[in-house]
């Protein structure tokens, strides 16, 4: 998604001269062109993320629109206090772009993973979270981000080509229509859930929904489906606490929807403490295609 991000952001920044792009020394083989095009509005802030976050807040106060970028844990967990105090509490217009939500960085290991980032960001005032599932949604999302004012966290991941016609972007959307079970997915893991569903022998059973923004409200269509099926599965590449699962349960209770069956498929962290690819971690956490297929068959 970062290539797509660089391409679209360049177009936005070309028109909107108030935008500033700051990176924590990352972007090799991805942001060279953006750097050349943006000139002084492209700032490599160095391996100094605490300063990058707070300096961005200062720039926002001055009237600019700073976007700050790094590997997801380095612009979330590492700099939590700067985000809370300097961006969120005063509601300053800073966009935080984290690359590698979930286990995206694979064998780079837990230091580079972000499996509790959404939960942390969800606790912050004024924060909006974007968790795109498809590279095709990057353009509408960052166009929207640039129009909005206020703190934002965009969780980017490596997208995979999928055998589906990608629908036009909305924050909460139905991807596949079905009538037996509602599956609600947070962003990145869609690229495992979708092939799992496509591999099911029984067709049209899964009503698949993708969440790309938090917080959100249940739509009428989703409520109807939740009530009708009374069978819900929430899937996320994130720990149990603080992410989509937690939030969705609150939405259900608030809407007085009490399903007969509710399952939350989430990351459990590091099972074997061994290193491997994203698929290795997903398999350990039963979030890989085969495990999901098995779970959704029942």
């Amino acid at each position: 998604m970062r290539y797509k991000f660089a391409e679209i952001f360049e177009q936005i920044a070309k028109k909107d001269k108030k935008t500033v792009f700051m990176t924590g020394d990352l972007g090799f083989h991805a942001f060279e062109r953006l750097r050349d095009k943006l000139g002084e509005r492209f700032i490599n802030a160095g391996v100094a993320e605490h300063n990058m976050v707070t300096a961005a807040a200062g720039m926002a106060y001055a009237g600019l629109k700073p976007w700050i970028y790094s590997i997801a844990p380095f612009v979330t967990i590492k700099v939590l206090e700067e985000i809370r105090n300097d961006i969120c509490l005063p509601n300053y217009n800073v966009k935080i772009i984290g690359l590698g939500g979930g286990y995206d960085y694979g064998i780079a290991g837990p230091t580079h993973h972000a499996i509790n980032d959404v939960g942390i960001m969800m606790t912050l005032p004024n924060m909006r979270i974007y968790t795109p599932g498809f590279a095709e949604h990057i353009a509408p999302i960052i166009t929207k981000l640039n129009k909005e004012s206020g703190p934002t966290y965009l969780r980017l991941t490596k997208a995979e080509p999928l055998n589906i016609k990608i629908p036009q972007y909305t924050s909460l959307q139905r991807i596949i229509r079905g009538d037996k079970v509602v599956v609600v997915v947070l962003g990145s893991i869609i690229n495992k859930v979708l092939p799992a569903i496509q591999g099911l022998s029984r067709k049209n059973s899964v009503d698949l929904w993708l969440v790309s923004e938090l917080p959100f409200n249940l739509t009428k269509e989703l409520k109807t489906s939740l009530q009708k099926t009374s069978n819900i599965v929430v899937v996320e590449e994130h720990v149990k606490t603080g992410g989509l699962g937690d939030y969705f349960q609150h939405l259900l209770v608030e809407s007085k929807i009490y399903p007969k069956k509710y399952r939350h498929l989430h990351s459990r962290g590091y099972i074997s403490h061994r290193y491997g690819s994203r698929d290795f971690y997903l398999k350990e956490n039963k979030l890989d295609r085969e495990s999901l297929k098995k779970e959704l068959s029942t």
């Binding site: 002084e40 509005r41 807040a57 200062g58 106060y61 105090n85 300097d86």
Partner: protein
């Protein structure tokens, strides 16, 4: 208003700090730190800054000193300050608040944030072509323990932020000891010169010296951020707590209060 003698202003605002702190049944106002930086605040905010400049008090625990300066400047009314300070629902935090964003761009209290914010402001002014605007930031020497301060220093220097004026209130004390006994003197001028700053040190309680230091900084090489190190005394003006760690843990009541008023009135 500005024709008043500066020396009287130092006493007048110290007295106001002590009187406001005397309303508080605890040591929350950090009276020692307020007395330490009040003279630098007076010179910077009242005499140096232009209306379009911005100031960040990074050592947010000295907010009461900032309030009395804003009160003098007419930005905060007597009634507001005297009636509501330390009352429930007040907009005047014990740490510099987010309730007055025009004059206080950043709520501080957790140390080590102000320099980066001010550097971002200074960089922002330059990117926007607002070349006459300046960003000011006052930190404490203890605060320079924070790693983020040095990230901010690298950024300010690398981006040649000559529109950034940093002040360090170097009273050589921090929360639980002397700076030299905790992590060493992080406000040492040589350290900051090595980080690419124009540095001038002076007596941080002498308004004339502070004024001259600002003039000297402006005359130094362009293309560098500026640092004014004020050598100060925590609790300055209140003899019982001067240069003592306890100065930030003192409740202003009874005999202490009466003596503090006397001491300040008799300051040289």
């Amino acid at each position: 208003m500005l024709s008043r003698k500066k020396k009287n202003l130092s006493k007048e605002l110290r007295l106001k700090i002590v009187k406001l702190a005397s309303k508080v049944p605890s040591a929350h106002p950090h009276i020692g730190s307020c007395m330490s930086c009040i003279d630098m605040l007076i010179q910077t905010l009242i005499y140096e800054m232009k209306p379009s400049d911005k100031f960040i008090l990074s050592k947010g625990h000295a907010s009461l000193a900032l309030y009395v300066v804003f009160n003098f400047l007419g930005k905060i009314s007597d009634i507001e300050l005297e009636k509501t300070y330390f009352e429930d629902g007040t907009q005047f935090g014990i740490h510099t608040p987010g309730t007055l964003p025009k004059d206080i761009p950043l709520a501080t209290g957790s140390l080590g944030h102000g320099l980066s914010f001010a550097a971002g402001l200074a960089k922002g002014f330059k990117l926007l072509g607002q070349n006459n605007r300046k960003a000011y930031c006052l930190m404490s020497d203890g605060e320079c323990n924070e790693g983020a301060v040095w990230e901010g220093a690298l950024f300010a220097s690398h981006h040649k932020l000559d529109n950034l004026f940093v002040l360090i209130d170097r009273n050589k004390l921090q929360a639980f000891g002397r700076t030299k006994d905790v992590l060493g003197d992080a406000a040492n001028p040589a350290k900051w010169r090595a980080f690419g700053f124009n540095v001038i040190s002076c007596n941080g309680h002498n308004l004339k010296e502070i004024e001259n230091s600002f003039s000297q900084l402006r005359a130094l090489n362009k293309g560098k951020p500026n640092l004014l190190i004020g050598n100060t005394v925590r609790g300055k003006g209140i003899k019982a707590i001067e240069n003592k760690v306890v100065s930030n843990y003192t409740t202003v009541v009874g005999e202490f209060y009466k003596q503090a008023i006397e001491d300040i009135k008799n300051m040289d």
